[in-house]
Every structure is written in structure tokens, then in C-alpha cells.
């Protein structure tokens, strides 16, 4: 289990949009649920350090990542964060193997190049894409590209994993199977995971803690069955 979790104290504006949040996410898996435009992607990008914030304290397991009051801003590459977005953003000029191995630049991998190759193979096997190693991104389907993007984010063994609707191109069964394998892996490797989705069925199926976000504000934080009770009834009524 994560030590002290992900602490978020954020107050920032993007044009007319205002994201204001004060909470600590301690669960192994947290689903950020909210409609499009609720601020899910903005929040994940702030946590990853990809966008600047007006006022923000972001700390993971007591280690400050962003602290605007102390002008602390850890570079995204030094946060030990893996991130997969809806758009896989694979490097188009590198094959799958080199894409997945891109983040393996530590001294251990430089001393032992075989370790890098093995890690890439392990990660591709985890996401069910070991047969794609030699392919170029342009030859992959949307679902395959998302699998590879996940393998690439996991390869450096991040401490925090951010998923922004990462399996949108996979069909329901494939997405569930991949999610199952991913949950087993993150538990075994003690990787806290935050997953943004606008699909209540996804959030309920995972059964994780849910952070309900609406118009940039935290509406509720708690177990999925409790926070998404109304959504569950709506889904049940549709069936």
C-alpha cells in the first residue's frame, strides 16, 4: 500500500476554467470520474508536472513534486510518474521495442543492456503486445498503440501511474482483461494508480475509490458504490 498517498492542494485557472481541489488520495487505485470538461485531464497534467499551476502543492508519499509557495517544481522526468493518455503518442520514427525502451536510460540499464531488452519484453508481455516488438507505430491499430503506450509508461517502474481514459480504443472484454492484469501488476509493484474516466461502468467495475469531479471542484471522494450510487441506478435503469 502507498505510504501517505497523493496530496493535492490545487487552485489554478486556465482561461475561464477554475480547478480547485484539496484532498489526499490514499487508495491503491483512485478513479477520477466526471463529465467531459470537469478538469480530469487538467488535474492529471498538473500532477505530472506537464503544465504550470498558479497555486499548487502536489506531494507523493510525502515527497513534494510541486510547491508553488516554495517555488519548487520537479521536472516531469524526475517525478517517477508514468502517464498514458487517450492519444498514445508513440514516437513515430521508433519501432515498438525502442518506444518501450525509451525511458530506460538509468545507469543500471547502460551497464547491462540485456536488462533493458528483458524489461521491454516483460512489459510487452504484460500488455499482450510481445508480437508487436518490431512493428512501427504507423502499422499498429488504435488498441495496439494504447497497449504499447501503457508498456512504455510502465517500463521505468514508476511510483505513480496516471491513466487518462487509456483503453478507449479497446473493446470491452479486451479492456477488462488488460485492466485486470494491470491491477495485479500495480499491486505487486506498489504503484499507486489514478485513472480518469467519464464512463461510470468502468469506475464501478474497478470498485476503487472514486473522486467525483465536476466543473473543476471535488464533489465527493469515497468508495465507488457510495459515490456513484446515482450513476449505478441510472445504468441499472438503462439495462
Amino acid at each position: 500500500m502507498p505510504d501517505s498517498g497523493l496530496e493535492l492542494r490545487i487552485d489554478t485557472r486556465r482561461g475561464s476554467f477554475h480547478l480547485q481541489l484539496d484532498c489526499t488520495l490514499r487508495a491503491e487505485w483512485t478513479v477520477i470520474f466526471g463529465p467531459s470538461g470537469a478538469g480530469k485531464s487538467t488535474l492529471l497534467r498538473l500532477i505530472a508536472g506537464l503544465d504550470p499551476a498558479d497555486v499548487a502543492i502536489v506531494a507523493h508519499n510525502s515527497k513534494a513534486l510541486t510547491d508553488t509557495t516554495n517555488r519548487l517544481y520537479l521536472d516531469p522526468g524526475r517525478r517517477h510518474i508514468g502517464m498514458v493518455a487517450q492519444h498514445p503518442a508513440l514516437f513515430p520514427h521508433l519501432n515498438v521495442q525502442h518506444n518501450v525502451g525509451y525511458g530506460l536510460t538509468g545507469s543500471a540499464f547502460q551497464r547491462h543492456p540485456m536488462a533493458s531488452i528483458e524489461r521491454v519484453q516483460d512489459m510487452l508481455a504484460l500488455v499482450g503486445a510481445e508480437h508487436l516488438a518490431a512493428r512501427m507505430p504507423r502499422d499498429l491499430s488504435g488498441g495496439e498503440a494504447q497497449r504499447v503506450a501503457l508498456a512504455r509508461a510502465l517500463a521505468p517502474m514508476p511510483r505513480l501511474l496516471l491513466l487518462d481514459e487509456p483503453f478507449s480504443a479497446l473493446d470491452g472484454a479486451a479492456s477488462d482483461a488488460l485492466l485486470d492484469r494491470l491491477r495485479t501488476w500495480t499491486r505487486a509493484n506498489r504503484v499507486q494508480t489514478i485513472m480518469a474516466t467519464h464512463d461510470a461502468a468502468d469506475a464501478l467495475a474497478i470498485g476503487a475509490e472514486v473522486l467525483l469531479l465536476r466543473e473543476g471542484r471535488l464533489v465527493a471522494l469515497g468508495p465507488a458504490a457510495q459515490v456513484l450510487a446515482a450513476e449505478r441506478e441510472r445504468l441499472r435503469a438503462r439495462l
Partner: protein, 222 residues
């Protein structure tokens, strides 16, 4: 035909292009990846030679690199001779004069790279130099080629800066453009025709090379 001027022009253009590409890659990357508002000043200074009359730039450099300024005296102390009226001086002038022709295509090429790729690389631990050389440069290869060809051609056709800064010294500073001017001044139109023809052929060949490379990439994509 003034072959000495021909080879001097090629040498000047090749050296200038090599220096410009090496300078323009980090400069363009800084302009694209940087967030400081001071970069607007860098951008303006980089584009300045586009609107500045070449003779003005040549005059300023002539004064700056001459013995009347501290910079010029410093250069004489180090090199033993002033940079003005020398091949090295021409290189300095050409690099400054052609800088926008190297930087602007690269800024356009780097800007066209999907920002999501840059974000992905940063999250995977890539520092700016790695982002530039493992992503931006390979993905903006056509822009790099355009920058190199435009810098080369612009240096080949340079006149005002060369004349002002280098004068007309055979074997040292007389380029094809200057030779052409001399030939016309001496009413030697046959030689002038040949020189102008070579300058024209160089320009056409280089531009065809750029468009051919773009055409073949388009063909592969289709």
C-alpha cells in the same frame, strides 16, 4: 570563368552552412521549447537580418571587427590580424546574415512536432538535449534539409555583406557574386553570363533537391 571565386564561394557556403546548422538547432529548440518571455527578444534578433539592408550589417561588422573597437583589437591580439578583409571575417558575416534562413525553417519544423510526443519524452526522463536530438531533429528532417539548403544558397548569393566586410581580394574574399559584379563592370558579358548561369544552376538544383525530398516522402506516405 573565375574558378578561384567559384571554389571560394563553395567553401564559404559549406563552412557557413555547417556553423549555421550547429547554431540553429539549439536556437530553434530554445525558441520552441522555452517558456521565457525574453525569448521574444532572441526571436526578433534572429529575424533582424531579414529586414536589415546587407550593407548596413556589413558596415557594422566592418567597424566592430576593425581595429577601432575593443572587440576588433582583441581579435587582432588573438589571431594576429583583423577579421575584416579575410575569409574568416566573411564566415562571421555570412553566419549572421543567413541566420534567419537556418532558424526559421527549423522553428517551423520543430513547432509542427506533436506536443504530446514531447510531453511523453519528458515524462520518460528525457532532458531537453535528448528531446531535441532523439525527437525534434529526426521528426523535422525535411526542415533541417530546408534550413541547410537555404543557408547554403543564401550565402552563395550574398553580395552586400561580402563586399562591405571582405572587399574584393582574389582567393581570399572574392566570391562569385563579387566576380560577377567585376565582370559586368568590365563589360565582360560573356564571363558574366557564365558566372550568372552557375549561380542560377546552383539555386535551381538545390531547390529541386528540397522539393524532390518532400515529394518522395509524400509518395512513401501514400
Amino acid at each position: 570563368m573565375d574558378w578561384q571565386a567559384f571554389f571560394l564561394t563553395l567553401r564559404l557556403s559549406a563552412v557557413t552552412t555547417a556553423i549555421l546548422v550547429a547554431l540553429a538547432i539549439p536556437l530553434a529548440a530554445l525558441l520552441v521549447l522555452g517558456r521565457s518571455r525574453w525569448l521574444a527578444i532572441v526571436q526578433a534578433l534572429t529575424a533582424l537580418p531579414l529586414v536589415l539592408p546587407p550593407t548596413v550589417l556589413g558596415f557594422f561588422l566592418l567597424v566592430l571587427l576593425g581595429p577601432r573597437t575593443a572587440v576588433g583589437r582583441g581579435i587582432v591580439a588573438v589571431l594576429g590580424h583583423p577579421l575584416a578583409f579575410s575569409f574568416a571575417g566573411l564566415v562571421v558575416g555570412s553566419v549572421l546574415y543567413s541566420l534567419p534562413f537556418a532558424v526559421q525553417p527549423l522553428v517551423a519544423g520543430f513547432s509542427a512536432v506533436d506536443p504530446a510526443l514531447i510531453d511523453a519524452a519528458r515524462l520518460l526522463g528525457a532532458r531537453p538535449p535528448r528531446v531535441v536530438f532523439s525527437l525534434l531533429v529526426p521528426l523535422a528532417r525535411p526542415a533541417l534539409l530546408a534550413a541547410a539548403v537555404l543557408s547554403f544558397l543564401h550565402t552563395v548569393g550574398e553580395f552586400g555583406v561580402v563586399l562591405m566586410l571582405g572587399g574584393d581580394i582574389p582567393g581570399a574574399t572574392r566570391t562569385l557574386s563579387i566576380a560577377l559584379y567585376d565582370q559586368v563592370e568590365n563589360f565582360n558579358y560573356a564571363a558574366a553570363n557564365r558566372t550568372a548561369g552557375i549561380l542560377l544552376a546552383l539555386s535551381v538544383a538545390a531547390l529541386v533537391a528540397i522539393y524532390l525530398s518532400g515529394w518522395s516522402r509524400g509518395g512513401r506516405r501514400a
